[in-house]
C-alpha cells in the first residue's frame, strides 16, 4: 500500500516536472504566435494619392508599397509632368507606423498650406500638400483593427 501511494506520488512528481517545462514551452509558443500575428497584422495601410495639376488635369494612384517617390522623372513611382516639379521631388514613405512626407531637396520646395516642408512630416488622411503647381491629396487606408490594439 505504502509503495503504491508513493508510486502515484512519483508519477505526479514527474508530471509536475514536465508541467513546468510544458508551461514554459506553452508561454514561449504563445509569445511567438502573438509576435507573428502582430507582425503579420502590421500590414502598412495603402495610400491613395490624388494630384490636381494647374491645367486642371487630375491623376490618381493607389500604392501598397512602403515608399513612393514623386517627380518629373518617368522612373518615379508617381511621375507628374509639371515643369515646376523637380526630377525627384518628394518621397512619401511608411515607417514607425506612419506615412512620412520628405522633400528631396527640390528646387521649388514642397508646401503644406503656407509652410515649407524641411523635415520629414507625418501625413494623415485627407492632408494636402503642394509641389510646384500641382496639389496633392492623401487618403490613407483604414488601419486594421488589430493594429489599434
Amino acid at each position: 500500500m505504502t509503495a503504491l501511494l508513493v508510486l502515484i506520488l512519483r508519477v505526479a512528481l514527474a508530471i509536475a516536472l514536465y508541467a513546468f517545462l510544458w508551461r514554459i514551452f506553452l508561454t514561449l509558443w504563445q509569445d511567438l504566435k502573438q509576435q507573428g500575428e502582430f507582425l503579420s497584422s502590421q500590414k502598412k495601410p495603402g495610400i491613395h494619392i490624388h494630384a490636381v495639376m494647374e491645367n486642371g488635369k487630375d491623376i490618381q494612384h493607389r500604392f501598397i508599397q512602403s515608399e513612393v517617390t514623386i517627380g518629373r522623372d518617368p522612373n518615379c513611382d508617381f511621375p507628374v509632368m509639371d515643369e515646376a516639379i523637380s526630377a525627384h521631388h518628394v518621397r512619401i514613405s511608411y515607417h514607425h507606423t506612419q506615412w512620412w512626407l520628405e522633400d528631396l531637396n527640390s528646387t521649388n520646395g514642397t508646401f503644406i498650406g503656407k509652410s515649407q516642408v524641411t523635415v520629414p512630416t507625418v501625413l494623415i488622411t485627407s492632408d494636402q500638400f503642394r509641389c510646384g503647381g500641382t496639389s496633392f491629396t492623401i487618403l490613407v487606408d483604414l488601419v486594421d483593427a488589430k493594429l489599434l490594439n
Binding site: M1, T2, A3, L4, L5, V6, L7, L9, R10, A12, L13, A14, A16, L17, Y18, A19, F20, L21, R23, I24, T27, L28
Partner: protein, 806 residues
C-alpha cells in the same frame, strides 16, 4: 504578463518540490513495507524556507524588475530547491547548512533587486578583480579544507567557509566585459587590447593551477576564450585557445600527477574499480540503478557514491528520479541558457551583452563539465553543478549571477545595442546545447543500454541493501529441513547458516566477501530474479526498487547422513561424497576442515589465509592423484585384468568420464585432459560418479544437487540436471567387476586405494551397493589427505550401511 508567467511557473515548482518532500517523508514506509515507521520529517524545514524566500524574491522581482525575464528565476528556483532537498535527503546536516546558504543567497537576490543599475561593476572593475584575486591568493597561505584533507581551497572562520574561486569567476567575467566594452570601440588592434586581459587572466589561472584547482582553472580558461571570442568575433581566438588548452592538457597529463590520474581513470575506468576510478564507477552504477523512471526520492542508495552532495549530485538525482528526472533537469538548464543568451542579445549596451553571455557561458559550461564528468563523457573535475550542488560560495555566486541576468533582461524599453556579428552568440548557444544533448545521450546509454550489466557488478553495493530488505529464499534439504535461512526482520535481514558444516558446499552470501557455493550459483532463485512471474518482478521493481521475495530451493542433501559424515570427519582433512547411483542425487557432500559462515564478518580474513583452506569445497574443487591401486576395479571392468600400462590407462579414464568436468550447480575443478596422463588427478565427485557403474549396471547418471524450486505460481518445480548421463559399460561387464569387490556377507562392494605425490599421502575409499541391491543404489567415495586406510574404510562402510538402512 511576465508576472503571471513567473507566478504560474513558481506554483508548479512548489507543487513539484512539495511532492518530492512528501515522497522523501514516506520513503521509510516503502522500504519497510509498513506504515509503522519513523517518517523523515526534517526536510520540510528546507521546503518551508525555500517557499518563504522564493515567495519574497518573486514579489520583489516582479515589482522592482517588472520587465525581467520571467523564466530565469523559476528555473533557478526549481533546480536549487531540487538540489536542496537532495542534499537534505543525503545528509540532513549538510542540508541544513545548504538551507542556510539558500536563505543568504536569496536574501542577496532580494536586496539586489533594489539596484537600479549594475554600472558600478563596470566602474570598479579593477578593484573588484584585484580583491577577488587577492582572496584566492590568500588561500595559498591560509587555505583550509572543511572536510580536513584534500586541496585547501577555502578560507575559513570558525564554522563558516568561503571558496573565493567561486565569486572570482563572476568577477573575471564582469572585469572582461567591462574592459572589452570600454576598449573595443577604440579601434586599436585587437592584440593591443588583449595584452592586459591575457596578463590578468593568466595570473588568475596560474594561481588556480598552483592551488591544484584544475577544474576551476579550466573553466576560467574556457570562459576567457569564450568572452574574447564573443567580444571580437574572431574565430582565430577560439582556435588558438583550443590549441593552448589541448597543449596545457597534454602537459598536465604528462607532468601533473592528479591530471594524469584523472585522465587515466577516465579513459580506462574498469582497470581500477576500487581505486582511482572508484568514484566514477559508483556514479555510473547509481545512474544505472536509476534506470528510466528512477527509484523515487529517498528510495535509492546514492549514499554509496563518494561526495554525492556536491561533485556527484547529478548521479544522486539520476538514481532517484531516473532518466525522466535528469532529462527534465537538463532541459531546465537549457531554458536558463536560452533565456540568458536572449537577454545578452537584447542587452542595451556592449558591456551588458558580454556580461550576460559570459554568465550564461559560465552556467552552461560548468554544468556540462560536471555532468559530463558524472557520466564519464569528460574527465572528472571537482566543480559544482550551479544552483544544485552543495556549497555556499557556489550557490551565492550563482544567485548573484542570476540577479545580474535578471537586471540585464529588464531593459525591454530600450532598443538593443547594434550587433555586428550574431554568429559568436549563436555558436555559443549551439555549443552549450550540443553539450547538454550529449549529456542526455550518455545518460540514456548508462541508464538504459548498459544499465543491466552495470548493476550485476560485484562492486554494486546496492545488492547488500536489497538483501537486508528482501528475504532471501531458504536452502532446504531433501526432507525440507532448513539448511540456510534468514535472521532479523525487514530492514535487518541477514543470512543465517543453520547447518554450519555444509558451508564449503552451500557457500555464503556476504556484503564484504561476496558469494560462494550454492548461495552464488542459485542466487537468481534465492533473490527472486528467476522463477517469479515477469509481471510481479516488474511490479516489485517499480514499487520498491527491489526484486520480490526470494524462492526456496530444495537440495538433494540428506541432513541426517550429512551430519553422520561430518561427525566422523571431524579432525580430518578430506572429502566425502555419497550419491544415489541411479538418479545422481548427491545425498552427502562433505569437505573438511570446514568453517562457520556465521562468523565470516569477524574471521573472513582468517579463513582466506588459513593454510588448510577451509573455504574450498574439496569434494568438487579438490584434485587428488589417483595412484594405481584405486583404479583397479575400473581397469578390471574394462579389460578383465586388474592391471594396465600407462597408455591403456587413457582409455580407462576416458571410458569412466574422468576427462569430463561434472556439470553441477557448484564450482568444479576442470577435468584434466588426455595429455596429462603422467599426473592424473580427479576430484572426489568425479570418482563417485565413475564408481556408479558398479552399482548402476554400467550407467553414470548426471549429478544433481539443486532439486527443486518453490515458485509462487506453480509450486515446487524440479530443476533439471545440468549434465548428461554416460553409458560407460555394458551391464554384464559392470556387474561382474562389482561382484569381485563385494564384501563377504554384505550387499555392498568396496575398494581401498592409496596415492602418493611429493611428500603427501592420500587415501581413497570407494564403495557402493551391489548390483543386486533392490532398493536405492548408492555409491560412496571417501578421500583423506593422509595415509589412513582404516579410517577411510570405517567412514565409508558405516555411512554406506546407514544410508542403505534408512
Amino acid at each position: 504578463m511576465n508576472k503571471i508567467t513567473q507566478s504560474r511557473l513558481l506554483q508548479i515548482t512548489a507543487v513539484f518540490l512539495f511532492l518530492q518532500t512528501l515522497i522523501i517523508t514516506l520513503s521509510p514506509a516503502v522500504r519497510a513495507r509498513t506504515w509503522d515507521v519513523d517518517y523523515r520529517l526534517t526536510q520540510w524545514i528546507a521546503l518551508g524556507l525555500w517557499g518563504l524566500f522564493v515567495a519574497r524574491a518573486h514579489y520583489d522581482i516582479t515589482r522592482k524588475l517588472p520587465d525581467a525575464d520571467p523564466y530565469l528565476f523559476p528555473a533557478a528556483a526549481l533546480i536549487s530547491g531540487w538540489g536542496l532537498l537532495t542534499i537534505w535527503r543525503l545528509d540532513p546536516n549538510f542540508g541544513a547548512r545548504q538551507a542556510l546558504w539558500f536563505g543568504v543567497s536569496s536574501s542577496v537576490l532580494i536586496a539586489g533587486t533594489r539596484l537600479a543599475s549594475i554600472d558600478f561593476l563596470r566602474r570598479y572593475k579593477y578593484i573588484l578583480l584585484t580583491c577577488g584575486t587577492f582572496l584566492v591568493a590568500l588561500t595559498l597561505i591560509f587555505g583550509t579544507n572543511p572536510s580536513g584533507g584534500g586541496p585547501r581551497l577555502w578560507l575559513g572562520y570558525s564554522d563558516f567557509y568561503l571558496q573565493p574561486s567561486e565569486p572570482l569567476k563572476l568577477l573575471l567575467i564582469a572585469f572582461l566585459s567591462a574592459y572589452l566594452a570600454d576598449k573595443l570601440p577604440s579601434r586599436l588592434r585587437t592584440i593591443h587590447i588583449l595584452y592586459p586581459t591575457i596578463i590578468l587572466s593568466g595570473i588568475v589561472i596560474l594561481l588556480l593551477v598552483v592551488q591544484r584547482d584544475l577544474g576551476t582553472a579550466s573553466i576560467f580558461t574556457a570562459l576567457y576564450a569564450i568572452i574574447i571570442y564573443l567580444a571580437t568575433g574572431r574565430k582565430r581566438i577560439l582556435f588558438i585557445s583550443l590549441f593552448l588548452l589541448a597543449l596545457v592538457g597534454v602537459a598536465g597529463y604528462s607532468f601533473v600527477g592528479i591530471v594524469h590520474a584523472r585522465v587515466a581513470s577516465w579513459l580506462n575506468p574498469w582497470d581500477d574499480p576500487s581505486g582511482s576510478s572508484y568514484q566514477i564507477i559508483q556514479s555510473l552504477i547509481a545512474i544505472a540503478n536509476g534506470g528510466i523512471i528512477g527509484r523515487g526520492p529517498g528510495l535509492g542508495s546514492p549514499g554509496f557514491i563518494p561526495v554525492a552532495i556536491s561533485d556527484f549530485i547529478y548521479a544522486a538525482i539520476a538514481e532517484e528520479t531516473g532518466l525522466f528526472g535528469t532529462l527534465g533537469l537538463l532541459a531546465i538548464i537549457g531554458v536558463i541558457i536560452t533565456r540568458g543568451l536572449r537577454a545578452a542579445l537584447r542587452a542595451p549596451d556592449l558591456f551588458r551583452r558580454i556580461l550576460a553571455a559570459g554568465i550564461t557561458a559560465y552556467f552552461g559550461f560548468q554544468t556540462i563539465l560536471i555532468v559530463g564528468g558524472n557520466l564519464r563523457l569528460l574527465p572528472l573535475t571537482g566543480v559544482t553543478l550551479p544552483f544544485v550542488s552543495y556549497g555556499g560560495s557556489s550557490l551565492l555566486t550563482s544567485f548573484v549571477a542570476l540577479l545580474i541576468l535578471l537586471n540585464i533582461s529588464n531593459h525591454l524599453d530600450i532598443d538593443p545595442a547594434p550587433l555586428p556579428k550574431p554568429q559568436p552568440y549563436l555558436l555559443l548557444g549551439l555549443f552549450l546545447f550540443a553539450g547538454l544533448f550529449a549529456s542526455a545521450l550518455a545518460n540514456g546509454w548508462w541508464s538504459v543500454v548498459r544499465g543491466p550489466d552495470l548493476l550485476t557488478r560485484s562492486d554494486n553495493q546496492r545488492r547488500m541493501i536489497e538483501e537486508r530488505y528482501v528475504s532471501r529464499g531458504l536452502l532446504l534439504d531433501s526432507t525440507n529441513s532448513i539448511i540456510n535461512n534468514n535472521n532479523g526482520e525487514i530492514g535487518t535481514y541477514s543470512r543465517n547458516y543453520k547447518y554450519v558444516d555444509l558451508a564449503p558446499v552451500t557457500g555464503y552470501t556476504d556484503p564484504l566477501y561476496g558469494q560462494a557455493g550454492l548461495e552464488a550459483s542459485l542466487d537468481d532463485y534465492l533473490r527472486g530474479v528467476k522463477g517469479n512471474p515477469t509481471g510481479s518482478l516488474l511490479w516489485s521493481n517499480l514499487l520498491y526498487g527491489t526484486n520480490p521475495e526470494g524462492l526456496h530451493v530444495r537440495l538433494s542433501i540428506d541432513l541426517y547422513l550429512q551430519n553422520r559424515t561430518d561427525e566422523m570427519m571431524v579432525g580430518s582433512r578430506g572429502a566425502v561424497v555419497l550419491l544415489n547411483a541411479k538418479s545422481g542425487e548427491i545425498l552427502v557432500m562433505s569437505s573438511h576442515p570446514t568453517f562457520n559462515p556465521n562468523h565470516l564478518a569477524e574471521s573472513g580474513a582468517k579463513f582466506l589465509t588459513d593454510p588448510n583452506k577451509p573455504l574450498i569445497n574439496r569434494a568438487t574443487l579438490g584434485q587428488y592423484p589417483t595412484g594405481s591401486t584405486i583404479m583397479e576395479p575400473f581397469v578390471q571392468a574394462l579389460t578383465g585384468n586388474s592391471s594396465a600400462n600407462e597408455t591403456f590407462m587413457v582409455n580407462v579414464y576416458k571410458a569412466f568420464g574422468f576427462y569430463q568436468t561434472p556439470q553441477i550447480q557448484l564450482p568444479t575443478a576442470p577435468a584434466l585432459s588426455e595429455d596429462d596422463i603422467a599426473i592424473m588427478r580427479v576430484s572426489p565427485l568425479q570418482m563417485a560418479l565413475a564408481s556408479t557403474v558398479f552399482s548402476n549396471h554400467g550407467l553414470i547418471p548426471a549429478p544433481r544437487i539443486a532439486m527443486a524450486v518453490n515458485t509462487p505460481s506453480e509450486g515446487w518445480i524440479s530443476l533439471p540436471a545440468l549434465g548428461m548421463p554416460i553409458e560407460a559399460l555394458q551391464a554384464p561387464a559392470a556387474d561382474e567387476a562389482a561382484s569381485s569387490y563385494l564384501v563377504e556377507n554384505q550387499t555392498y562392494w568396496q575398494h581401498i586405494g592409496h596415492a602418493q605425490e611429493d611428500r603427501s599421502s592420500f587415501t581413497w575409499f570407494i564403495g557402493g551397493t551391489s548390483p543386486n541391491w533392490q532398493a536405492t543404489p548408492l555409491v560412496i567415495v571417501v578421500l583423506l589427505e593422509e595415509d589412513d586406510l582404516r579410517l577411510a574404510q570405517r567412514i565409508g562402510q558405516e555411512l554406506l550401511v546407514d544410508a542403505m538402512n534408512p
